[in-house]
Symmetry: C2
Subunit: 137 residues, 2 copies
């Protein structure tokens, strides 16, 4: 079974300070870090909880994918990321079951980690990210 | 810090078999169990992943809260449940920070566990359930 854990739950927010007021101050999650991702045009805050983390995403432009999602759907949960041991095996198994992958081959982050998205229409309405954590089988 | 882990992520689905085809067959999560919750008028499937689980909810009537959610918002993520050690302390801290609780006092399940919901308008758009797992601090 290649799925290890919920790596993160991504939440699109309109107001980062207001969101941190809940997740950090009121709920008490530690703020592990923040970053500005220019490629995706989002500010991100990372808040670990157990083996997972909450990722708050705030669009920094009006024409990014996340900004369009926010305008269309409103603030809320955007995707869930499941850590897997072998992304190619996971993607192959998903494709063999007729589910639609958004990425046909894994994409690679700057730090070398590999990921891919599954289309919500194949999952019951959830955007699912797969993220490879090799060797943790 | 009273928050322990993501206990579960609840997903509202239109077609349970189609959803299980992804989460169980394609992604490979084990199906821990299913139940028919007459009080909430939903069929539920539980699929553990790491220390968390995915809960698939399918409305069994057309006038339940979950059915109305599905009709209004479509299938997808409904709420995230965070396990906490002391639900009264967590609720007090949340209220003190001005966040709006849907339940003013904890509700109790048949098995004695206690839970409460936080209103999405206070969290950046996410329905958050708190679930008490006592003594696991």
């Amino acid at each position: 079974m290649p799925a290890i854990k919920v790596d993160h739950l991504a939440v699109v927010v309109e107001d980062m300070d207001a969101a941190l007021k809940f997740w950090q101050d009121a709920l008490g999650l530690p703020l592990q870090g923040t970053e500005s991702n220019e490629h995706e045009a989002v500010d991100v805050a990372f808040l670990p909880v157990g083996e997972s983390r909450i990722e708050l995403l705030k669009p920094t432009t009006e024409d990014s994918g996340i900004a369009k999602y926010l305008a269309k759907r409103g603030a809320g949960m955007h995707h869930v990321c499941i850590a897997v041991t072998d992304i190619e095996a996971a993607m192959q198994q998903i494709a063999e079951h007729g589910a639609q992958l958004i990425n046909e081959t894994p994409r690679t982050r700057e730090d070398g980690t590999r990921y891919a998205f599954v289309h919500p229409k194949s999952t019951g309405g959830v955007m699912v990210e797969l993220y490879e954590v090799p060797g943790k089988a």
